[in-house]
Amino acid sequence: DMKVTQMPRYLIKRMGENVLLECGQDMSHETMYWYRQDPGLGLQLIYISYDVDSNSEGDIPKGYRVSRKKREHFSLILDSAKTNQTSVYFCASSYWGNYAEQFFGPGTRLTVL
């Protein structure tokens, strides 16, 4: 069953706490992505990973970092979370290539108080 999973699905943190969002995929996709989705702003790319330990900044990387030690797993880390990082975070994966369809996970709703 081809899918992208995300954990946790819902998370509430206080400002200044560290946050770890996990993403997994079972399709052996080389490329993985982290997005955040905010009303009126659509999907904004935070980071893209082309394979293990091969990560590049997206459009809004400030305040985030990522880790990819296995092809099937991609983590998003917020060190000292801020209230403006309250959002819905989506992970996606795809084969490499500019015609490759991205498969999205179910999302994590993060609230930073």
Binding site: G42, L43, F90, N98, Y99, Q102, G105, P106
Partner: protein, 114 residues
């Protein structure tokens, strides 16, 4: 820079009537692929249509879109909207730059009324 524009943030249509969601783009790259993604309430975005061929109509689930490079457009249309079509629709493109990054429009929320 490269960008995708969806001019309508909200579109409301009556069930059974046609619907058109606009999408235009700007890019300096020659080779591009286009997508329409649909996101139902509390679900993940998923691909609805994709195309990279100029002037070729692409269809799926009753929706269709034609890439027109001459007008830099990839509008999404359906002849008869259904209640179940209510969702958030994103137009997106990828470039030949090799980054595999999808450039998304800001999205159009489609509401189909009975």
């Amino acid at each position: 820079g490269d960008s995708v524009t969806q001019t309508e943030g909200l579109v409301t249509v009556t069930e059974g009537l046609p619907v058109k969601l606009n999408c235009t783009y700007q890019t300096t790259y020659l080779t591009i692929a286009f997508f329409w993604y649909v996101q139902y309430l509390n679900e993940a975005p998923q691909v609805l249509l994709k195309s990279s061929t100029d002037n070729k109509r692409t269809e799926h689930q009753g929706f269709h879109a034609t890439l027109h490079k001459s007008s830099s457009s990839f509008h999404l249309q359906k002849s008869s909207a259904q209640l179940s079509d209510s969702a958030l629709y994103y137009c997106a493109l990828t470039l030949s730059s090799g980054s595999w990054q999808l450039i998304f429009g800001s999205g159009t929320q489609l509401t189909v009324m009975p």
